[in-house]
Amino acid sequence: MNQPAIVRLENVTKVYGNKTIGLDHVTTNIHKGEFVFLIGASGAGKSTFLKLLFREEKPTSGKIYVGNKNISLLKAKELNILRKNIGVVFQDFRLLEDRTAYENIAYAMEVLGYSKKDIIDRVPKILKKVGMIHRQDHYPQQLSGGEQQRIAIGRAIINSPKILLADEPSGNVDPSTAVEIMDIFKEINSVGTTIIMATHDRFIVDQLAKRVLELKKGKITRDQEGGRYTYES
């Protein structure tokens, strides 16, 4: 691949406070525009991998570069710049229950200091992109898991981030909804956004046939282009 690496891990180890190993000497490059699946058994270190990238956790040793910046060296004040360039989506959506779909996205823009005009202009576009414009006035409780996940994805892309991280985004939805959610990710990926997704969803990994990074006890045991969920040679 001749694209420059947008994410680079050099010998990264994460040991949690209670001596549990999250990642164990991981080295890998992820290039701009890639779609990468992180797979592996529960506790293999998938979430740890993602958390390290947007600095929810700091590595115990090793270096992590995002867009040529060593993110371990970021000061608290610079952290928000990293996070503005990285969107995050979680299995449990993490929407604000007392705000409508529209307001959830508008809130994220508001706290980033966007002007009212920008917000009014951009929120409907994002809602359209994730196919939720018709439900914009509904509260999370009134929406299905898949619909909530769409809102969460919308919120993650308000800044048009270069990287989108997703931690089991289809973990709480039925298989057909999962396919629809994947279509949104594919579309986001098609305009050049790098996507790194932790998942247990065998069907989706096999169907999309993207790069697969398999983790086992914190180590990368497989790195395969167009890989399938289960290794077959």
Partner: protein, 294 residues
């Protein structure tokens, strides 16, 4: 930092406070009680200082003659007083003058009449002016030795006594003030902690989307400062009113030599407002540091 951002912070801060009305109101009240006591204390110390200063600047002392002395005998004492070193002048005050003066200061002519009839219990008095107030102690000592002198009243005794009292109040007061400040800071930080808890989901979202720290913390810092400021405003109003009231009373007792001093109260109010905002900022800062990880 622009106006729009500050407007946003104040707006959010007011929402935080409205969300937790009971806690906010009790915090404001506690802060205002604390600051009221602080202000009253400062005013007391200031005025006690002024009072002591005017007393110690006095170059006079009063000599009271034994009450069983006749006027003739008393006047003989006067000559001896004049011979003391550093005495500049000696003024004679008859029993009647002494009585009249006291009644004009304190009133109660009727009661005196009832108690003593036509007798005058006041002693013959001499007012001695020294050449300067450092000599008064020596003059007082010499005057006390003269036969027929019953008592020498010397402002310095009063000054010393008062200074002792004021010092005790000052030390006790400073301890109380520190405790009150700590309580106010603790309460504000608790209030902020509760709003942080109430808004933990929003804070999480702000972090994930990459809000700047100032955007996340600003509303909470503003809440704390607003709580402290409101407490200061309440205490200032109450303090100014009670100051006015007690100074009006004090003016009636002329002896105290105090009067309403607009500059004094203005200074104290400014000090309270600054303290209120500072206490609020510190209280919320402590909570933010403790409960808001980035």
């Amino acid at each position: 930092m622009n106006l729009k951002k500050i407007g946003y912070f104040i707006n959010q801060a007011l929402k935080n406070m409205a969300r937790n009305k009971v806690m906010s109101i009790s915090t404001v009240l506690t802060v205002s009680i604390s600051l009221f006591i602080v202000g009253a204390f400062i005013i007391f110390i200031l005025n006690a200082g002024i009072f002591i200063k005017t007393q110690s600047d006095k170059t006079q002392l009063s000599v009271f003659v034994d009450t069983n002395y006749t006027e003739q005998q008393a006047l003989a004492v006067e000559d001896k007083l004049k011979n003391i070193a550093d005495v500049e002048s000696v003024t004679y005050k008859s029993k009647q003058q002494a009585m009249d003066e006291m009644i004009s200061k304190q009133g109660g002519a009727e009661q005196w009449k009832q108690l003593f009839g036509d007798d005058n219990p006041m002693p013959y008095t001499f007012i001695i002016t020294g050449s300067d107030n450092t000599k008064l102690e020596a003059i007082s000592a010499d005057a006390s030795k003269i036969e027929g002198v019953y008592k020498v009243d010397f402002a310095k005794d009063l000054v010393n006594k008062l200074t002792g009292i004021v010092n005790a109040v000052r030390i006790g007061g400073i301890v109380v003030v520190i405790i009150l400040f700590l309580i106010a800071i603790f309460l504000i930080s608790t209030t902020i902690k509760l709003s942080l808890y109430a808004k933990r989901k929003e804070i999480q979202v702000m972090k994930y989307v990459g809000s700047s720290n100032s955007f996340i913390q600003g509303p909470f810092l503003t809440s704390g400062m607003l709580l402290g400021f409101l407490g200061a405003v309440v205490s200032s109003v109450v303090l100014a009113l009670s100051y006015k009231f007690s100074m009006d009373k004090a003016t009636e007792i002329q002896f105290l030599n105090l009067s309403f001093n607009g500059l004094q109260i203005a200074l104290v109010v400014v000090l309270l407002l600054i303290s209120g905002i500072f206490v609020g900022a510190l209280g919320s800062y402590l909570s933010l540091r403790k409960y808001l990880e980035v």
